[in-house]
Amino acid sequence: MKSALENLLASRGFGPTLAAWQAEAEPDAAFALQLRPGTVSELVPDAEPAENAPGSGGVTSRALQLAAAASGPIAWLDPQDSFDPASAEGAGVALERLLWVRGGAPPAALEAAQLILHAGRFALVVVDFLALPSAALRIPRAAWFRLLRTLERERRASLLVLAPRPLAGSCADQVVACSYQSVAWRGSSYAMFDRARLGFRLVTSRRAPTPAKRPVARVGRVDQEFVA
């Protein structure tokens, strides 16, 4: 009853919070990060957000969107304990197939990721380092190579790293930067804005360019194309 009422209110523009916000990001957009099994991908906030856009880049929203589309169990490693189950469910993530590991230091989170990948058949493992200070993110390169080797052996799971800056170096299959491009402010007491647009910038990719995907997505911009 409660959720039905909330949905009804939301459909009429009376969403109680920013949950009424609709991002125009197309999940299948060519540069909006596509996860490949057996690879490491990174989502980072764009260092140069658009003018009048908030500093947060929409990384978590996009990660939840990818988790909702994963075809199998998902593990969410959350050293800062900032995962919000309500947001995840709102994004379409099936909570009953989500393994949430709260707390721990970054090395412990990577060790847990290694264990989860060894267990096999998890479709997506998300490591959320987004809000951690840089000092805490001094991770030896060997740890990323270990993870990559496990991923390549299992060939089922994707590892998605959310971080303030690229961390995995050459182990990353692709690094995508996110930022809000424009916000349609509403200015009412019911919601701050109607729509926001999320943009993606491909920072680096190990994939070969695919001509069929050249037409840039309806959203986002491509500042740097297919850097090998």
């Binding site: 939840l64 309500a86 096999g120």
Partner: protein
């Protein structure tokens, strides 16, 4: 008694029994009752069971098994050579050694006896699905209708004896349970249907006291003992002598118990096989160590052995383990040290069960030497599902519980699990449940073309003052309160106003979207999280 006298006695018993049986049959057929035909039972008995268990078979030299009872070491069992030397149970060991200087003395081993009894039952279970453990040393099998599967009953009994190679086994085959049991204990082999009375005629009447497990459903053991004592005083020492007594007069003097004992002595169908059922809820294995063990690796090995010992029973009854408890008896500590684990996906793999407990032992090793170990496993029926061709892949069932336990050891079990939203007006209320996967994973829903904004929660919420932030935009407030019926200070009680706000915090160059709240009791502002 000469041979001719014996023959005369047997024929007299047979004719007397035949008359009564004929009259019984006539009365039953008149009443419409039919005797069950083609019933067949096999009984398997291990003589001197404690000795066989302790020695791993029946040794030829004079050997006894002793156990401490009060201040004395008493003989519990003795083999044939020892009995021929005049040694019998309940004699003290020092007396026994006085009678046979070369006597070998073994200490009674309860664990070995338990294992041998389990093995006897497991092998019997391979012969028949309906078995009863009449005692640790005696198994009774219903063989009716199994000839096509195993051949004759004698062949099945021989197969059972071969399966328990190294141990001495006596088997008895008869048309009803009590006869099969007597045939096994007395070494009569197979008793043909109708020849029961003649086969039993020369056996001592005291054997009837050994049938308590079969007859307790309709006879009281104390009454049986009283009746047998009375028969002994009357000079009736054999089954044949009891069988020929007139039934009506026997009933008048000894009551129904006397009549029923006579019916057994005449070879009539009495005794009920109570088939062993599957364990209802738990299985248990215990191990004792002398001296106590302090090496963790040895304790882990013992846990593994205990888990493996449960596997045949789980297989036999088609059960799986959904939770287990390990109780370690520690020296100088009256309370056992407990380790408990539950399995999201019930299993019967000994390695999985042992791995869970070994992880727990590594995490919290026992502080003192361990003298006993009890592994208790809760069992349930296995769930069977047929996997769909296009179902999503799922983790290996054997690896998942171990993974969750390992993560629980690393991060704390209360910090690992699957979130569930609680149906509450309190924003963000959730519970963390143990991570399990449904039998089938549905394919993911088609991703929407747009998405909701995600919140990154601050746990605990960050208190802010007006001077620390510059409010650029806001929407709200939305008031929520609940738990007002609880006492002040209860964590379940809340009352707050919430805003979505674009705020530029002091020291930050860019504004961000936050969820802002004001506690209505303290008027303190908090940032509950940041939208991202």
């Amino acid at each position: 008694m000469s041979l001719s006298t014996q023959s005369a006695t047997e024929s007299a018993v047979a004719s007397a029994v035949a008359e009564d049986v004929a009259s019984d049959a006539a009365s039953r057929s008149r009443g419409g009752l039919q005797r069950r035909e083609a019933s067949l039972f096999i009984a398997a008995w291990m003589p001197v069971f404690p000795l066989q268990a302790a020695a791993g078979g029946l040794p030829q030299p004079a050997t006894i098994v002793s156990a401490r009872t009060g201040p004395l070491d008493l003989v519990v069992a003795a083999n044939g050579a020892a009995r021929r030397a005049g040694i019998h149970p309940l004699m003290s060991v020092s007396q026994a050694l006085g009678r046979a200087a070369t006597l070998a003395v073994l200490v009674r081993n309860g664990e070995a006896e338990s294992q041998l009894a389990t093995r006897l039952l497991a092998e019997a279970d391979h012969i028949s699905p309906r078995i009863q453990a009449v005692g640790p040393d005696l198994a009774l099998m219903d063989f009716a209708g199994l000839e096509r599967l195993h051949g004759s009953a004698a062949a099945a009994a021989a197969r059972l004896a071969r399966a328990l190679g190294g141990f001495t086994l006596q088997t008895g085959i008869a048309a009803h349970p009590a006869m099969a049991l007597i045939a096994a204990k007395c070494g009569l082999g197979e008793i043909a249907a109708g020849g029961e009375a003649a086969a039993l005629a020369r056996l001592p009447v005291g054997l009837l006291a050994d049938l308590n497990e079969l007859t307790r459903a309709f006879m009281d053991a104390a009454q049986v003992s009283d009746v047998l004592g009375l028969l002994s005083r009357w000079g009736i020492h054999t089954m044949g002598a009891l069988a020929v007594l007139p039934r009506a007069q026997l009933a008048a003097r000894l009551g129904p118990t006397g009549v029923q004992l006579q019916a057994i002595a005449r070879g009539e169908a009495l005794g009920i096989l109570q088939a062993a059922g599957a364990p209802d809820s738990a299985l248990e294995r215990t191990l004792a160590f002398d001296p106590a063990i302090s090496d963790l690796e040895v304790i882990k090995l013992a846990v593994s052995q205990a888990a493996q010992a449960l596997t045949p029973e789980l297989d036999r009854h088609d059960r799986v383990v959904d939770r287990c408890q390990l109780a370690l008896g520690l020296e100088n500590d009256p309370r056992p040290r407990l380790y408990e684990r539950s399995f999201a996906l019930p299993t019967r793999e000994a390695s999985v069960i042992a791995a869970q407990l070994q992880l727990a032992l590594e995490h919290q090793p026992p502080a003192r030497p361990v003298y006993s170990l009890a592994l208790r496993c809760g069992v349930v029926h296995p769930r069977r599902v047929q996997a769909r061709l296009f179902a999503a892949a799922r983790p290996d069932p054997a690896k998942l519980p171990k993974l969750v336990a390992r993560l629980g050891e690393m991060f704390g079990s209360e910090r690992v699990g699957s979130p569930r939203l609680i149906d509450s007006h309190r924003r963000g209320a959730f519970a963390l449940q143990p991570f399990t996967l449904p039998d089938e994973l549905e394919p993911p829903a088609i991703a929407p073309s747009s998405a909701r904004l995600a919140l990154r929660a601050f746990r605990p919420p960050r208190a802010v003052e007006g001077s620390q932030m510059r409010l650029l935009r806001r929407a709200g407030p939305w008031r929520s309160q609940g738990g007002w019926w609880r006492e002040s200070g209860d964590a379940q009680r809340w009352a707050e106003d919430e805003w979505d706000a674009e705020i530029c915090l002091a020291g930050e160059s860019h504004p961000a979207w936050y969820r802002l709240a004001r506690d209505l009791t303290t008027q303190q502002y908090y940032l509950l999280g940041r939208y991202d």
